[in-house]
């Protein structure tokens, strides 16, 4: 009897439990906040922007960081001397912490001053004197904290001092100090630091005078220091002068560049050239810090409008207004149309406009998207999973939002990215490469057969435009319309560029000596190799598609699919044949794209970024000229000639320029896309009251299905109850009889 008594309770548990759950929900419902809000109730109507990150950033140290998901943070915190104007197009540099944009003067080998119009070949050095604004202060940070006598509080911490410390916020005291020119010099020195991996060290050591030797000096110094003391790992770069970079006075420093390199100014707008106070390195290099994940890679120290106050890459990262920010105002001028678009409504207002930004870890696309639709994220990209829910493409190819999104007042911004995805031929390959007419015709034929219009519509949901050359729109040198088409691949019609028919490609192929895809001399079918990496189902479909493009010309395409490392290895050794590659602009200058085909950047020979190993003497000569020219008709003419050489030689099939789609809720303002500047956060504005209203309207809880669910469960229990009754009655009857 006893155990069965207990059993009776079992069927009751589930409904009771669900009832309890309902009660709990009802309690939650008493607060006015929507039940499904992922944020605490006190945050409603606060001036907080909500965003997400899918992968934890690897480096937030400005000497090391080079990824787009890292610059989201570093660009708001670190302030290099220059920045891009937020509204003006074409992209234009303006001073950020600098007093003005530095203009270089030139020296010859003996150090004699040259006039500004000296030909580039005679210039041995360009000297940039950079002056920064006085009075800028760093964010509050424990590295600057001092006691009454001026001694640093946290520069000689012992193991015991760190016992209770788990995050940067656990240090009780903070301090600040004025930004000085030394800090900028210190950071440039860090590019050569023996224990850091700056991705631009290789490039910069070619330009900044003495940087390559400096790296050797530091390496030796580091080794000596480590042999002396194992624990304190602070390498004070102030003790080691760098010949090409010097401090002139408190607010001025000088950078000496080898030769003429006007693009250097663009680098001065990137966090690589932001200031780094020595106190920060000293502070973070103490023993026990990295064990607690308290490093410069995780807790940046800057002068910018925001500071990173919480960094828990396993859950959330929070940026808050830097209380010491030097102040900056929203620009008063923009380009035509900005006033109408409401982008100048905040003109003259002090920045930043948002108090706090909370980035939550969101590994999956679908929850991120759903939270955006519910109003819990303020902006969103469009992933291919949710593309059909968000975008509809009209019969004329015009793009608009779906009615569901339109009803919510969501806005769409599109912009062609300043990047290119292309298919490259390894020019060292005996079949597709080289300067022979035969190989050239073969490449041209393939360029026609690769129907990128189709690729864009199938694999990118129409988000992209076919490339006519190496330069994307928005970069000087790009030409629109008829003069801009690639005449080897396209014909101009009244509907715009039209890809040449496959018959034309076949004719070229026959002229190359492969009629119907067979080698005239040997009679063997032509087989080519496509080297690639990645093996997901999406990749399989894409590879199949590429194989079909070659099959149009009766060329057999073998896919050589390996892992990422083997692929990199093939590219380095030059054993790949045809490959897919891409480039994202570092700065808005044609040099940053055309250098990808400059002979002296060959991947195999020089380990450079010229993955096709293309070399053309005329192109190289023009490149060296174009590199140092000012934007203008003359430069355009040189670029036109260079692009013509590339189109004729076809070392690349110019693939496409991807298009970015970004969605914003109607409470999100000043959302102009700036593909060059990453520090746009300070200009953004939200309307938290409107957001709260909308969130409540969109997220009314629907409770009745839960009631139905409880009822259904109770019904399901009914047969059990009846069966039990019957059983008991039988027992009673059995006992009575």
């Amino acid at each position: 009897m006893e155990p069965r008594q207990l059993l009776i309770r079992a069927p009751v548990t589930l409904p009771a439990w669900i009832a309890g759950m309902l009660a709990a929900i009802a309690i939650a419902g008493c607060s006015e906040q929507p039940w499904n809000s992922p944020y605490p109730a006190w945050q409603a109507e606060q001036n907080i922007l909500y965003s997400s990150f899918s992968e934890r950033p690897k480096h937030l140290d400005p000497a090391q960081s080079y990824s787009s998901n890292e610059v989201v943070f570093t660009a708001q915190i670190y302030e290099p001397p220059l920045q891009y104007h937020f509204l003006k197009r074409p992209y234009q540099l303006e001073p950020l912490t600098a007093v003005k944009i530095p203009s270089p003067y030139y020296l010859d080998q003996a150090g004699r001053r040259l006039t500004d119009d000296t030909p580039a070949a005679e210039i041995a050095y360009s000297v940039y004197d950079i002056e920064i604004e006085p009075g800028i202060r760093y964010q509050p940070h424990p590295a600057f904290a001092r006691d009454a006598e001026g001694r640093y509080l946290y520069h000689d911490l012992s193991g015991a001092d760190l016992e209770r410390i788990n995050a940067l916020a656990d240090f009780a005291e903070t301090g600040s100090r004025e930004l000085v020119a030394t800090d900028y010099v210190y950071q440039i020195k860090r590019l050569a630091h023996p224990r850091l991996h700056s991705p631009i060290f290789g490039l910069m050591s070619e330009y900044i005078d003495g940087l390559a030797e400096y790296a050797k000096t530091l390496k030796q110094a580091d080794r000596q220091q480590q042999s002396r003391q194992a624990e304190n790992l602070f390498l004070d770069l102030r003790d080691y002068p760098l010949s090409g970079v010097e401090v002139l006075d408190r607010y001025r420093y000088r950078v000496k560049i080898r030769g003429k390199y006007p693009q250097f100014l663009y680098w001065l707008a990137m966090p690589f050239f932001a200031p780094m106070p020595w106190e920060a390195e000293r502070f973070y290099s103490q023993p026990g810090m990295s064990k607690r994940n308290i490093t410069l890679d995780w807790y940046p120290v800057g002068t910018g409008p925001y500071m990173l106050t919480v960094n828990n890459p396993n859950r959330q990262m929070i940026m808050e207004r830097n209380t010491n920010f030097h102040g900056e105002r929203y620009p008063e001028q923009g380009e035509a149309g900005d006033i109408e678009a409401g982008l100048l409504a905040d003109a003259g207002r002090p920045l930043p406009l948002i108090d706090k930004v909370i980035y939550s870890l969101e590994k999956e696309n679908i929850p991120t998207w759903n939270k955006f639709l519910q109003g819990y994220y303020d902006a969103s990209g469009v992933s291919s999973d949710s593309f059909d829910q968000a975008i509809q493409i009209g019969s004329g190819g015009d793009i608009s939002l779906t009615p569901e999104l339109q009803d919510k007042g969501i806005q769409l911004n599109t912009a062609v990215a300043t990047s290119i995805s292309y298919m490259g031929f390894n020019m060292l390959d005996p079949v597709v490469g080289g300067d022979s007419e035969r190989a050239r015709l073969l490449r041209q034929a393939i360029a026609i057969a690769m129907d990128y219009e189709e690729l864009i519509s199938i694999f990118a949901n129409g988000r992209g435009i076919p490339a006519q050359g190496p330069l994307p729109p928005g970069i000087f040198g790009y030409r629109e319309g008829q003069p801009g088409i690639n005449p080897y691949v396209y014909d101009w019609t009244k509907h715009g560029p039209q890809r040449k028919p496959v018959a034309e490609a076949k004719r070229l192929l026959a002229a190359a000596g492969y009629p119907d895809g067979r080698d005239v001399e040997t009679g063997k079918p032509l087989a080519l190799y496509f080297d690639t990496t990645g093996g997901g189902p999406d990749d399989a479909a894409r590879l199949n598609w590429i194989r079909k493009q070659f099959a149009k010309l009766d060329i057999q395409l073998q896919i050589r699919n390996t892992d990422y490392n083997r692929f990199q290895d093939k590219m380095l050794k030059g054993t790949a044949q045809i490959f897919q590659w891409g480039w994202n602009a570092d700065y808005p200058d044609p040099e940053n794209f055309l250098f990808l085909l400059y002979g002296n950047n060959g991947k195999v020979e020089h380990n450079g970024e010229n993955a096709a190993n293309y070399r053309n003497a005329e192109f190289d000569r023009l490149f060296e000229r174009m590199k140092n020219m000012k934007n203008g008709p003359q430069r355009q003419e040189v670029i036109d000639r260079m692009v013509e050489i590339l189109r004729h030689d076809a070392p690349w099939v110019f693939g496409f320029h991807p298009k970015q789609f970004v969605l914003y809720h109607n409470w999100y303002h000043n959302a102009k896309t700036n593909l060059m500047a990453n520090n746009g956060l300070k200009y953004r504005r939200i309307d938290p009251q409107l957001r709260e209203q909308q969130r409540r309207a969109w997220n009314q809880p629907v409770v009745w299905p839960l009631g139905v669910l409880v009822l259904l469960l109770a019904l399901a229990m009914l047969p059990a109850l009846i069966a039990y009754r019957r059983h008991e009655q039988q027992r009673v009857q059995a006992a009575q009889s």
Partner: protein, 210 residues
């Protein structure tokens, strides 16, 4: 009982050693440190010097098993094997290649996981045992058979489906729970409840009957 626990604990030792050896083989022999370096340094502007530097910093430039250049006990300890694999037995996990301390990360990340796993285990135990005993009580009747059928149906559905369906119905359609997220402290229940319920239901098929 004690003998059983002891035996189990002893079994664990060769298993851990074996797992350790296999992962060592996979991570450092099949996939060389050069590969790891290139993977970490990314696509743009990576030089061979940078790869060497990356390896040296993490100790991947050392010999795998035996360091002939070192003296004394260092011959065995100044190796990748000792540094990366043997240390694990002392719960010294070192730093990840991204430079974060793994021990500290585990400490931080286990709480949300436990907040779901512990209630799910306890509630699950209660529900599964009750359910199983209920079925046993009506053994042989149509209730037993329909219970088994239900279990098999629940078992045949992928766990991922419960998660996506639960998120879709309760968070997206009914607006009852947050789609995702976490909050430490007692407010965590808002984030924990749905995964626990889903976890219990998803496990009912296999645990309720077996």
């Amino acid at each position: 009982m004690f003998a059983y626990v002891l035996r189990r604990a002893l079994y664990a030792i060769p298993i851990l050693v074996g797992v350790n050896l296999i992962t060592f083989f996979l991570f450092f022999v099949v996939n060389t440190p050069d590969d790891m370096a290139r993977m970490h340094l990314g696509m743009k502007r990576v030089t061979p010097d940078a790869i060497e530097k990356w390896k040296a910093e993490r100790g991947y430039d050392r010999p795998l098993l035996y360091n002939a250049q070192a003296d004394g006990s260092d011959r065995l300890t100044a190796t990748i094997f000792f540094d990366k694999s043997v240390r694990l037995f002392g719960f010294d996990f070192g730093s990840s290649d991204a430079g974060r301390n793994i021990g500290a990360d585990i400490k931080q990340r286990m709480w949300p996981s436990l907040a779901i796993a512990v209630p799910q285990f306890l509630v699950g135990l209660l529900v599964y045992v009750s359910f199983a005993m209920l079925l046993a009580f009506f053994r042989g009747s149509y209730l037993d058979i329909s219970g088994v059928v239900l279990c098999v149906v629940l078992m045949s559905i992928s766990g991922l489906f419960y998660i996506i369906a639960g998120q879709y119905v309760f968070s997206k359609l009914l607006h009852l729970f947050p789609v995702s997220g976490y909050e430490p402290g007692w407010l965590a229940w808002r984030f924990v409840l749905l995964p626990v319920v889903i976890g219990v239901i998803a496990g009912l098929g296999s645990s309720g009957r077996v």
